[in-house]
Amino acid sequence: MASGVSRVVEVLKKYEKELLTDWLAELKAGGTGNDGRVSETELHTQAKEFLGTLGEASRSAGVGDIERPEWSPVRDFLDGVSRARVTQGYSSDQTATFIFSLKRPLFKRLSKEIGSDAKVLAEETWTASELIDKLGLHTIKSFQKTREDVINRQQEEMLELSTPVVKLWDGVLALPMIGTLDSARTQIVMESLLQRIVDTGSEIAIIDITGVPTVDTLVAQHLLKTVTAIRLMGADCIISGVRPQIAQTIVHLGVDLQGVITKANLADALALALKRSGYTVTRNKA
């Protein structure tokens, strides 16, 4: 394996400055740095730093295997660039172009350096091409990973967001439901409501469906089951947020909600809950 003495390493060192200039020109021609998301100076710094770490890593460990520990500064640098590109809203191909734009300048210098020896040139071009491809793939991989991390975090945040059981009054709990109800999270939400009823000794639970855009038979079934479970525990349940269009749709679907107390909005439900608990609300006239 000639990777230890590869001419690529030599070229990277000898022409660092020229490579930087050519690369930046290439990037600019490709459109990076023109839309104001990355400034020219920032791009310059990034490119310069990358060529620096690339040169160092290739000198100490060769260009055959970028998974070697000596290459870790280069990998870390690319991870950093990918992360920044994700937050700046770049697509994966735009991010990968950052690395792939280095190919042409590098090939140009290689051919100048090696000259007319076609066999050596072909070999070294192949080595360089492989190196750039590996670095590009690494960039895409870490770009993808950053994106996945963002999605996972948002999913977790959403699960947490969707289960707030609020105490409205002594003995009155409310569960404002938001979004899609026909997934596994409905189960979590309902379980936490039942648990809170036990924990607080509440007698009335209000499920508010104002934030649920569609009430189909599956959602209705979930609601009915929850109402039944709450009743079995000796508490009572009011469903609020039944808007006119939802009411009409439920009628056409043929879902029987008779026997379930429903209200158009949360305020009406709370008023009813207070009345049932024996409270009267009066205005203190000024």
């Binding site: 026909d182 569609t214 189909d216 038979t217 006119p244 269009q245 939802i246 009409q248 679907l253 043929g254």
Partner: protein, 134 residues
């Protein structure tokens, strides 16, 4: 009757039901349906998309925006290559289900739209077409 716009949505996962609902809502708004009609169409789509996913083992939803004279409408076609429905009249009965639902999906969807057509061949799949006019 002219079809002004047509798109196909795959129904392969539970999440696709949500995607289908959102697409139907968007097209209902484009067809200038009122809020009640929008909700009816979206709910019917939700029922049928879930049937396609659960009983049909997945399939497709074709949405077509229609124009007939000055009247605008939306036609949805749910197709699957599942086991099909053995007894259609039984399946259309309120409260009857071969699964664990309420047994109101098919019959309820029919009541929510203007036109309803169902074709099913045992062992070959099911196709349900619904249309709602403004």
């Amino acid at each position: 009757m002219a079809v002004t716009k047509s798109e196909v949505i795959p129904i392969r996962t539970e999440h696709d039901i949500v995607v289908a609902r959102q697409a139907v809502r968007r097209l209902s708004v484009e067809a200038a349906f009122g809020l009640v009609d929008q909700t009816k169409m979206v709910t019917a789509a939700s029922e049928l998309a879930r049937n396609t996913f659960i009983y049909g083992g997945g399939g497709t939803l074709q949405c077509e925006s229609l124009l007939e004279g000055a009247r605008r409408g939306l036609r949805l076609t749910f197709t699957d290559q599942g086991p099909g429905i053995a007894d259609l009249s039984l399946a259309m009965k309120d409260g009857w289900t071969s699964g664990s639902g309420m047994g109101l999906g098919l019959s309820g969807a029919k009541r929510l739209v203007n036109e309803f057509e169902i074709e099913s061949v045992h062992g070959q799949g099911t196709r349900v077409t619904i249309t709602r006019w403004k």
